[in-house]
């Protein structure tokens, strides 16, 4: 409970329950039994953070250890921030109102580049020195994990260390190392602790590496400062997720969160190999949970949480080998309890639609599909592996089952894209609409087309490409706006290009950007992922003042041999594989999914000593 937030502040801000905690399942341990305090910090709102599975996993893992107290903090919304700053109230945890700076360790989730300014803001509000080099012996250690940690370089100067990959074990090893070091009286200063944990696989200490640049600004060399520090830190990967503890007693928030339901994780990793997708590379290989383990978890989660909805969770849930039988078993098992099952994403085929129909007792808003690109050539370039016919079959199945609303997700600005490819988005949407007429005999399908702007990400085959410029994005938006203007019942929405361009800078940035992030924060940047608070001009100035340019990071195409700022923190996918994929992309050649077929040579399994775990054909 927040002891320091008075009634008048709480009644003046939006959604005050974000700040008051005390939810069912939150854990408070007595101060005298706490050896190590670990603050799990999420650089966005409560509703988003409480919907993030990784956060639940780490909260349960840490609190499962005697003497370790894990607590939570989220980014206060702008209204709360101004109230707190006005009265000098520091940012503190939900569980015990411990000020951020009084924790032993603070771990940030790097879910999205546009939340970086919030990290600085939270540290500042929590009385933690922003720059890692300014922290003293009794200051908290600031670390990070999550998807963006595979290029944490833009934050290098603020972070003491990072944890790469699956978090379950690594976070406990780091915490135990901290407990030992603290018990010994913190010998050798902060440096000594960092040296100790740098030996743990998956731990990356940015200050232990020095970066040299070429005159043209590209990286010449990244070298460890010490002999025992590995030149490349590989991610931690859990071989078999069936052996891992799962948070079966998660916190149940009072208010609505983004995912206010049970999240049942079916597998990690995805090997479909979409060439734009960062998640598809960094979480490899595919490791499925056994259906009977998933079932058992559901049996524990339902009575422990009181939720009446189970969401089947993974990067591409429809690919789970035993999805159909598992869904059937779950519906059967919980019929009495009126528990429903939901699928967060649909694959583009009629199988997925039929399954969606089975689980949705009540018609919800509509179905969503992600063809990602309009033309077949473009879909082949990105290795989406979906044809127009696949999509028409899927929507036909949907329309036949009574749905009349379809939402389609696309990207523009993909490599080799022509205007024809862009306009193909409008044609495809129209084809979907026409399909409704063919099936039902009526017009009036509501098709929503949502277009986002492609951002090249590290550890993808497109890490070499230049992002579209603002002019290119804006022109393509106009092309589509004009095309859709004459189409009835198609609702066209698109993302602001400026946010995507800034995301493009941070995604493939280097550690010189730390200065720019600091300047942007000083100038008031926060909640940059929220359009209403994002200021492109602020960031442009900040980058300029740091002596850098945006184009260098986002729109510049990289040479085949350019050394990237992130290659010393690796997810295990080889550079040679990624480049091969890039070359195939340019020729629109597909690569198959290795999940139930031959190895495609990404290198993860060999490098990290793991293998694909898939239960297809091995059902009980």
């Amino acid at each position: 409970m927040h002891k320091d937030l008075p009634i008048d502040i709480l009644s003046a801000v939006e959604k005050p329950a974000r700040y008051t905690g005390m939810e069912f399942g939150s854990i408070v341990k007595p101060e005298e039994e706490t050896d190590v305090s670990f603050c799990l910090a999420f650089p966005d709102t409560y509703e988003i953070g409480m919907s993030y599975l990784g956060f639940k996993i780490l909260y349960a893992a840490l609190n499962g250890v005697r003497g370790v107290q894990a607590e939570r903090v989220f980014a206060p919304w702008v209204d709360m921030e101004s109230q707190m700053r006005e009265r000098g109230i520091p940012l503190s945890s939900l569980e015990t109102s411990r000020v951020l700076g009084d924790f032993d360790l603070i771990g940030f989730t790097l879910l999205y580049e546009m939340s970086y300014s919030n990290i600085l803001n939270m540290l500042d509000m929590g009385k933690v020195p922003l720059w890692a080099r300014d922290r003293q012996i009794d200051d908290a250690f600031v670390c990070a994990g999550g998807p963006c940690v595979f290029n944490s370089e833009p934050l290098a100067d603020f972070l003491d260390f990072c944890m790469l990959g699956d978090g379950e074990h690594i976070i406990l090893e780091v915490t135990e190392a901290y407990r030992a070091w603290k018990k010994e009286g913190k010998p050798g200063g902060r440096e000594e602790f960092l040296h100790r944990i740098a030996r743990i696989q998956g731990v990356y200490v940015p200050s232990f590496y020095m970066v040299r640049y070429h005159e043209n600004g590209t990286v010449a060399e990244v070298r460890p400062r010490y002999e025992e520090v590995p030149p490349v830190v590989y991610k931690r990967v859990e071989k078999d997720i069936n052996d891992l503890d799962y948070p079966t007693h998660p916190i149940v928030p009072y208010g609505d969160t983004v995912h206010d339901r049970i999240m049942l994780e079916l597998f990690r990793g995805c090997s479909r190999g979409c060439r734009f997708c960062n998640a598809g590379m960094i979480y490899r290989p595919v490791r499925e949970r056994r259906p009977e383990v998933a079932m058992q978890l559901a049996r524990e989660l339902v009575p422990a949480t009181g939720y009446n909805e189970i969401s089947m969770f993974s990067l591409s849930t429809a690919d789970y080998s035993c999805l159909e039988p598992l869904v059937r078993d779950l519906l059967q098992e919980f019929r009495e309890d009126k528990v429903s099952v939901s699928l967060p994403s649909l694959r583009i085929d009629s199988f997925s639609v039929k399954l969606a129909q089975e689980v949705q007792a009540v018609r919800k808003s509509g179905l969503t599909f992600a063809p990602e690109a309009g033309s077949q050539r473009m879909r082949d370039v990105i290795n989406k592996g979906v044809t127009e016919q696949n999509l028409l079959d899927a929507v036909s199945a949907a329309f036949e089952s009574g749905w009349s609303q379809v939402k389609l997700y696309f990207m523009i600005g993909l490599p080799t894209e022509t205007d024809e490819d862009v306009l193909a988005i409008a044609h495809l949407a129209q084809a979907v609409q026409w399909q409704y007429k063919k099936i039902t005999g009526h017009y009036g399908a509501r098709v929503t087309v949502s277009v986002s702007n492609f951002v090249p990400k590290p550890y993808t085959p497109f890490q070499w490409v230049g992002q579209n410029t603002k002019e290119e994005f804006d022109r393509k938006h106009m092309l589509l706006k004009n095309a859709f203007a004459s189409m009835k019942n198609i609702h066209f929405q698109y993302h602001d290009s400026r946010t995507s361009l800034m995301e493009g800078v941070l995604a493939r940035g280097d550690r010189r950007l730390s200065k720019a992030i600091y300047r942007a924060w000083e100038k008031g940047a926060r909640f940059d992922g929220w359009t209403e608070y994002f200021s492109f001009d602020t960031w442009k100035e900040a980058i300029q003042e740091a002596g850098l340019t945006m184009d260098f990071y986002n729109s510049r195409a990289r040479d085949e041999n350019e050394r990237f700022p992130w290659e010393h923190t690796s997810c295990g996918v080889s550079r040679a594989f990624l480049y091969r994929e890039y070359e195939k992309a340019r020729e629109a050649i597909l690569t198959h999914d290795c999940r139930r077929s031959t190895c495609t040579g990404c290198g993860v399994c060999q490098k990290l000593g793991v293998r694909i775990i898939d239960w297809k054909g091995k059902e009980k």
């Binding site: 009634i7 008048d8 009644s11 009072y254 609505d256 422990a304 009181g306």
Partner: protein, 237 residues
């Protein structure tokens, strides 16, 4: 059978909304495996209700929860199961079992008692005396806008709150009053404070009001207060 409970909404969770409080109870009922009845139909929902909505920010030790059961169970076990599944900030004070046909507590509620602690810069004696002496005390309820026009309604506060008792220590004012609940409406404690401040010149720090609902009661034939859950058969905390 209906399981009827008097429960709390304590200070730490005073800012969760009425809807959030309801959803929280729904989950607790499910966790506790209470054999709750569901409505018929395509989208069955859990049959339970609260007697009277509480404003956000107000604490209470008199939220009345009615849960319709699909099968009979001993009271003690139900209360115990639910007790273990409530979050911090909600406790059970009293409970009983009633027949399905027993009148809904919502309909039986005739009034609520409030205790307010609020900073007040001047001696409130004359203002409160003026309120009590007033024939009527009109207050304009703001219902927002409808069709572009302000949709307001003027009510007489005296019809709902005839009397107020108080203590004042030079800085902080403590008020105790009952608000009548009628079929045509009621008044909020915060609205009453606004009225005292706006129409009777009481210098109240309205944003810092600490408001507690201390009782929700019925009325017997003589107009006397009657507890919604009678003490005789109930399990008490």
């Amino acid at each position: 059978m209906k399981l009827r409970l008097q429960i709390t909404k304590e200070s730490g969770i005073r800012f969760i909304s009425h809807l959030e409080y309801l959803k929280t109870l729904e989950k607790a009922i499910r966790r506790a495996r209470i054999p709750v009845a569901y409505s018929q139909g395509f989208n069955p929902h859990m049959k339970f209700s609260l007697a009277s909505a509480l404003s956000v920010g107000v604490t209470s030790r008199c939220e009345f929860l009615e849960i319709y059961l699909r099968e009979k169970r001993p009271l003690a076990g139900l209360v115990e199961d639910l007790r273990h599944n409530l979050p911090m900030g909600i406790h059970i004070i009293r409970a009983d079992l009633a027949d399905d046909k027993a009148p809904k507590l919502m309909a039986a509620a005739a009034g609520a008692s409030y205790h307010v602690i609020i900073p007040c810069g001047a001696d409130p004696a004359s203002a409160i005396a003026a309120y009590e002496a007033a024939e009527s005390a009109p207050y304009t309820k703001h219902h927002g806008k409808a069709k572009g026009k302000e949709k307001n309604k003027v009510i007489d506060a005296k019809a709902y709150i005839p009397a107020v008792s108080y203590t004042w220590n030079g800085e902080t004012l403590e008020l105790d009053f009952d608000i009548r609940i009628t079929p045509t409406g009621s008044m909020k404690a915060s609205e009453f404070l606004e009225l005292l401040s706006g129409s009777f010149g009481l210098p109240l720090a309205l944003t810092r009001a600490d408001i507690a609902r201390t009782d929700l009661y019925g009325e017997d034939a003589n107009g006397h207060k009657r507890p919604l859950i009678s003490e005789e058969e109930a399990i008490k905390d």
